[in-house]
């Protein structure tokens, strides 16, 4: 029983005891029921298991044109970045030196690239890319890292099959005290 229901029930019981009323308050949620189908344009969550991806798709070749207009100001012509935080390409987690961490060297899931670009990129106009454009531009970033071919059509099926170089590099510490 929820806290609110307990509260309502408790006050109803004490009220009826105190003044001899037999009525009880009808416990109800204060939220409004909604269907998942009503959230299709609202829920942007895209997970590694393939849930949450829109229709559409495209190739790195198509994405290059979008990238060179919408992304290069921060990420450079070939993803080399304009700062450590905006570098998208290269790096090696096993390097002797302090490793450079990028989409290619660090990110464990290709799904994160889709999820993040769809919700937050480009930084000056988030959510302005179509679903096709998101697939295409992330295909280009994956291709710049040598992870997929230039001609692969990236879509909800093929994206799930992309293996990232650092996929085994993470440890789930969520239950650590």
């Amino acid at each position: 029983m929820s806290t609110l229901k307990k509260l309502l029930t408790a006050s109803a019981v004490s009220a009826s005891l105190a003044i001899g009323l037999s009525a009880v308050v009808q416990a109800q949620s204060l939220g409004t029921p909604i269907n998942e189908s009503q959230l299709q344009g609202f829920d942007l969550i895209a997970q590694p298991n393939g849930s949450g991806y829109p229709a559409g798709g495209g190739t790195a070749m198509q994405g290059k044109a979008i990238f060179e207009i919408r992304c290069v100001a921060c990420h450079g012509m070939t993803g080399e970045g304009t700062s450590a935080n905006t570098r998208l390409v290269g790096g090696d987690m096993q390097s002797e030196e302090r490793p450079i961490r990028t989409v290619g060297s660090y990110w464990p899931h290709a799904s994160t690239l889709f999820d993040y670009v769809q919700r937050a990129m480009p930084a000056d106009a988030p959510k302005s890319l179509s679903s096709d454009e998101v697939y295409q531009v992330i295909a280009y970033v994956l291709h710049l890292n040598g992870i997929i071919e230039n001609s692969l059509v990236l879509n909800k099926e093929t994206l799930m099959q992309v293996e990232m170089p650092n996929k085994d590099g993470f440890i789930d510490s969520s239950q650590a005290l």
Binding site: M1, S2, T3, L4, L7, S29, L30, G31, T32, P33, I34, N35, E36, L39, F42, D43, L44, I45, A46, Q47, P48, N49, S51, A73, C74, T82, T86, M93, Q94, R98, P99, R101, V103, Y106, W107, P108, H109, S111, T112, D115, Y116, R119, A120, A123, D124, P126, K127, G169, F170, I171, D172, S173, S174, Q175, A176, L177
Partner: protein, 423 residues
């Protein structure tokens, strides 16, 4: 020892914390500073001008004294390529007590502060639930609420101390991404129970309504514990920079998971692996494996005065004071050293000592004009002891710069200049 003597309890001038209340008494004995002795013959008190004319009227919304306008948060220059991204740091060196005023509470934004009309804002709870629900702000104000005092700290706070050389910085610039407040809101479990949690659900995925739609995944068992949907901060509606009209609040944990401008909670079997829990806010170890979902903030303290970039103008008594906190419990003990950690004395904890909240500590110190290195070391209710910087960096390396909670060293030189050092 007579009652008039100040008891030295650690090297280099640390004085028994019990003398905190007695420093105003006359006849302090041999250690009393010259500034406390005798009357200044040149001082003649008169009635000041403001006592001779009526002052300003009461106001609808208060403001601070114009003489305190120098108390400001510190933020970097806006980056035109990262609109709205950045942080502002609390002026720890100027604050007292254990509650941060809302206007000086630190901020960290990933795509600026949205201007949200609460009448238009929605909170959706969906995914693995019996009945997906949408709540308006008005709906939520009808729920019973709880109020708790908690600290909030950015995971990147104090991160520069992982660097090989000590930065020239202040308590504010180095450690100002921590603040304390009373948060009021609805236990998240109340709302999750209303929607009816599916037995298969293991995670909640929380998303904000900012331009980055920033999201974080949180294990359901933690979400059902002490997490709240916060609507008020220090008694007033949560400010836009803190998530107006509502934010998640996850006590004791890295600030980023207390998602601001909360608009969506989706229950799932697996975490989403958002950008801010893979690319960012993860901790790469020396073996090149990276820890993900490292939520609790470590047992930590920092001396806020005297602190970096201050100057001690004269010898004598100072109150060494600071804040301590732990993401795993309450602060049980704070020790202070004036000789770089060779000898220690217990500081007085002169605030509440509640779970996952800032505690204020103080100890008197006689500066006799020599070199000193001031440090503080916190111990929490679980027995966790704040480590030295050296042991923390040796253990964690410095590939990642989150979750720094090592001991801060402030060096005082013979000129009275205070500086960040590694000691």
């Amino acid at each position: 020892m007579t009652k008039q003597d100040l008891e030295i309890v650690a090297a280099n001038g640390l004085i028994n914390r019990r003398h905190l209340l007695g420093l105003g008494l006359a006849g302090m004995g041999t250690l009393a500073s010259t500034s406390l002795l005798g009357a200044d013959a040149g001082l003649n008190l008169e009635i000041p001008g403001w006592s001779k004319q009526p002052g300003a009227n009461a106001s609808g919304y208060g403001s601070r004294s114009r003489f305190t306008d120098d108390m400001q948060r510190m933020s970097g220059n806006p980056n035109p390529l990262y609109p709205g991204g950045g942080a502002s740091r609390s002026p720890l060196h100027q604050l007292q007590g254990s509650i941060t005023p809302n206007s000086l509470h630190f901020e960290r934004h990933h795509a600026g502060i949205p201007d949200i009309d609460p009448a238009q804002h929605k909170l959706v709870i969906h995914g693995l639930v019996r009945q997906p629900l949408v709540f308006s702000y008005e709906d939520l104000l009808r729920y019973p609420m709880v109020s708790k005092i908690y600290f909030l700290e950015c995971s990147g706070n104090s991160g520069s101390l992982f660097g090989p050389n000590p930065a020239d910085g202040s308590a504010q610039s180095l450690h100002g991404l921590v603040s304390g407040a009373e948060w009021t809101g609805i236990p998240l479990s109340t709302l999750l129970d209303e929607a009816g949690v599916d037995p298969d659900a293991r995670w909640i995925n929380a998303v904000g309504a900012d331009a980055a739609s920033m999201g974080r995944s949180i294990p359901l068992n933690r979400a059902m514990d002490d997490v709240m949907l916060a609507l008020f901060q220090n008694g007033e509606p949560v400010r836009p920079g803190q998530g107006y009209p509502m934010r998640l609040f996850v006590p004791g944990c890295e600030g980023n998971i207390s998602v601001k401008w909360l608009t969506q909670i989706k229950l799932t079997r697996e975490p989403t692996h958002f950008r801010d829990e893979t690319s960012k806010y993860t901790d790469t170890r020396l073996d090149r494996k990276s820890q993900q979902f490292t939520f609790p903030m470590g047992t930590k303290s920092v001396i806020t005065a005297p602190s970096g970039q201050m100057k001690l103008e004269r010898q004598g008594i100072y109150q060494v004071t600071g804040i301590a906190w732990s993401g795993r419990g309450s602060i049980r003990r704070v020790e202070v050293s004036a000789d770089g950690g060779r000898t220690w004395a217990d500081a007085m904890i002169d605030s509440h000592q509640s779970e996952k909240a800032l505690a204020r500590f103080t100890i008197p110190w006689q500066w006799s004009g020599g070199d000193a290195v001031l440090q503080s070391r916190a111990t929490d209710s679980q027995g966790n002891v704040q480590p030295t910087r050296t042991s923390l960096v040796t253990e964690k390396g410095n590939i990642s710069t989150y979750h720094f909670h090592g001991i801060q060293s402030w060096a005082v030189n013979t000129a009275g200049d205070v500086a960040n050092v590694y000691a």
